[in-house]
Symmetry: C2
Subunit: 444 residues, 2 copies
């Protein structure tokens, strides 16, 4: 079924063909395809792979071919690769590196993958403050040979590596050659601690619009730099995790078409079962009102309509709050302002839906009188319940992310299904309570 | 209630204070706060604002103070500012710019904000292929004075501006001075067309790991460059839009705490009303089975449990597909592979929930016999229905994003509430149909 690349006839496989086929190729076919690329295409392709794909590809290549590819990587990317590689490959891959790089990579692997230290590159352009500008430029020309990832910013540090300032290469390049670095550098620096979470690092880039941010330790010594090109992937990754949690499951952490079915079922099944157990309370709530339902079956007809409206409005509210938190627009202390807004929004939206529901029942009754003689009472019950349920939905949906964050959980777990479950149970109680009051003496 | 900054006593307001207070300040207080910042802080702060905030701030400043701030902006950022500014301010702001910049900005404003042309900066480092490397470096030193946004990549173009190659500044810097640009440049270029959507541009950056990508017209002439720092914001923006659509509303396009309540209610109310109208079909479906409910009230008890399980599993499936589409992992032609996976997942998850439900009813009955003598039949109905409803949920949730994209809509509109509504109606029909068959001769 899958294309066999080992039979490929041409002199070199076009890069685009391998890209297109990649997802459907087996591991060994991937390696075969990779090996018949033109050398420059292969480099481009290899550097564009995710760390996981890289690790798999290298695993499928003969050991003696690995070295040349591993050595293409900057230390931060090599560390990512090692973290994704199967245990038995790690030492072999590490031994492909030259001594200084191996030391750098080993140091980087002490950091968590999702903190600033795990994202940073320990190779950056650095100069001393008392260098002359022309000396600095010549010195950088030497440093640049050693495979620096970027010379966009040049960092100024003293002998103990304390970060003193920064100067963009462009500024250095156009400054008078005989001035000193100290006189052209900027000292109001944006820096980030080694253990800051990558989501925060993303905000810093987004707010400051920089190409790179230096990572410093507690004593203000520069350890490396995070470049913005790594942040694009971080931002995508965080958005994907949040979206999947919000959809009511654990984050997959693998592409949808690649993850093994059993692993995906596990990641989805856990939450689904938990929600199902929660939702069982609806059966208990309904059982509690079984007599009312038996006497006024008409009440049961509107159960899905009422509870889904609460779930939908709650899903809107929790989306907005979760996303605003992820962007840093809303913080924990803003909770009261958010709740006030959601009370107002819930009242407006609940009244709107309530009126639509009221009109629908009254109009339908005029056409085909299926709701019985007390239809007006039923319509009023639906109207009042919708106001209450929608307001409860917006309040619950907006408060839940704050509660989760307060207790150290990810606010994105306040998923649409989670909020809907919460609102379903409460919505039933609201609806049947309103119904008992409104229909007492008529239907009940 | 709000702090009044015009009474601020100190010599200069700390930048951090203004940042913290920004969201709760009125427009005129923002301008007051901004004006008492230290000049260097003010520049940093101004450049970090969103285009919308910039436009509001400038509007609140006296006209004669605007020029100095507008002139800080690169042409692409100035164009964004003008697009966000109220109509009456545009000409005034445009007149703050010098002649060449005004021309560049006017050209940029012809592009849509969310396409490559609208993101690009028309100022980039360019050299001719037949220059010597040392000539090119001196020439760049001159060009760099004119406020280029980046000299990270140097683009090689002929006299008609046809893009021939690219060389990183670092490579140029360490190349032998007497070689020619033509000999050190790379010719396998990644470029992007002027009208490519920003989401695609984001994928390109994410896949290729570049710091900048050149924008070319249909004839291959370079028009400008998109830099990766602008892409971080694009990626955040697109993720926010998708998240909000998935939460069941229109994208707000403004920060949650800043959008006017009426505007937010409009953006949420539209979808909520549409979903409500759709969900009304559940009342019709229930009415269709009203006789069955009247005879077997026990059936009604499990309605919320059954339909919510379908909604939850559908929400998982649509999240996964929407996000995989946004990341470019899943394309239209992959639909059949996705559906096959979801059938398998739905069967597994449905069976799991069905068994939990079955055990719950049988166990509960043993403790307190509220489900009557035919409880086993009821439990079987719930089991079979859950398998059907969950499978329908995963299939509907995964197919809907494909259908929406096929017909030119945004797949992210296959929101959790939308899928839930679809599944609620169908779920009821499945449940009551299974119930009629299973309970015929006993309860019905």
């Amino acid at each position: 079924m899958s294309p066999t690349l080992s039979e490929y006839p041409g002199p070199a496989l076009p890069l685009a063909d391998l890209r297109d086929a990649w997802l459907v190729l087996s591991k060994s076919d991937r390696a075969d395809g990779f090996r018949i690329l033109k050398r420059s295409d292969a480099e481009e392709f290899f550097l564009g792979l995710s760390a996981g794909d890289m690790a798999e590809l290298l695993h499928a290549l003969p050991e003696k071919e690995r070295r040349v590819w591993v050595r293409l990587l900057a230390p931060d990317d090599a560390a990512d690769l090692l973290q994704s590689a199967p245990g038995e490959d790690r030492d072999k891959l590490l031994s492909c590196l030259d001594d200084p790089t191996r030391k750098e990579v080993t140091a980087l692997m002490a950091y968590e993958e999702d903190e600033a230290g795990g994202l940073m590159n320990p190779r950056f352009a650095r100069v001393r403050p008392d260098m002359r500008v022309d000396e600095a430029v010549s010195y950088l020309r030497l440093q640049a040979r050693e495979n620096l990832e970027t010379i966009y910013y040049v960092y100024v540090a003293d002998e103990q590596q304390h970060l003193l300032g920064v100067v963009s290469f462009r500024e250095l390049f156009i400054a008078k050659p005989d001035t000193h670095v100290r006189d052209v550098m900027a000292t109001d620096l944006i820096t980030v601690g080694e253990e800051v979470h990558q989501e925060q690092v993303g905000h810093l880039f987004s707010d400051a619009g920089l190409m790179a941010i230096p990572v410093v330790d507690a004593e203000g010594r520069i350890k490396g730099i995070v470049t913005v090109d790594d942040i694009v992937d971080v931002v995508q990754e965080e958005a994907t995790e949040d979206a999947q949690k919000f959809g009511g499951m654990e984050a997959l952490e693998e592409p949808y078409l690649q993850i093994a079915l059993t692993r995906m079922i596990k990641k989805r099944g856990g939450w689904l079962a938990a929600l199902f157990l929660g939702e069982m309370l609806t059966a208990s709530a309904m059982a509690f009102f079984e007599d009312e339902i038996a006497r006024a079956v008409v009440l049961a007809l509107f159960v899905p309509l009422i509870i889904s409206s609460g779930g939908n409005s709650g899903s809107q509210a929790s989306t907005l709050v979760i996303r605003a938190m992820a962007l840093g627009e809303v913080r924990l202390r803003d909770w009261w302002r958010v709740v006030r807004r959601e009370v107002a929004v819930g009242l407006a939206l609940g009244s709107m839906l309530g009126l639509i529901g009221f009109v629908r029942i009254v109009a339908w009754q005029a056409v085909s009188p299926i709701y019985g003689p007390h239809y007006l009472r039923v319509a009023e019950t639906v109207l009042i319940s919708l106001v209450g349920v929608v307001m409860f939905g917006t309040i619950a949906g907006s408060v839940l992310p704050f509660v989760l964050r307060k207790f150290g959980f990810d606010p994105a777990s306040a998923s649409a299904p989670f909020v809907a479950t919460l609102v379903d149970v409460t919505g039933l109680v609201i609806y049947f309570t309103v119904g008992s009051v409104m229909l007492r003496g008529t239907l009940l």
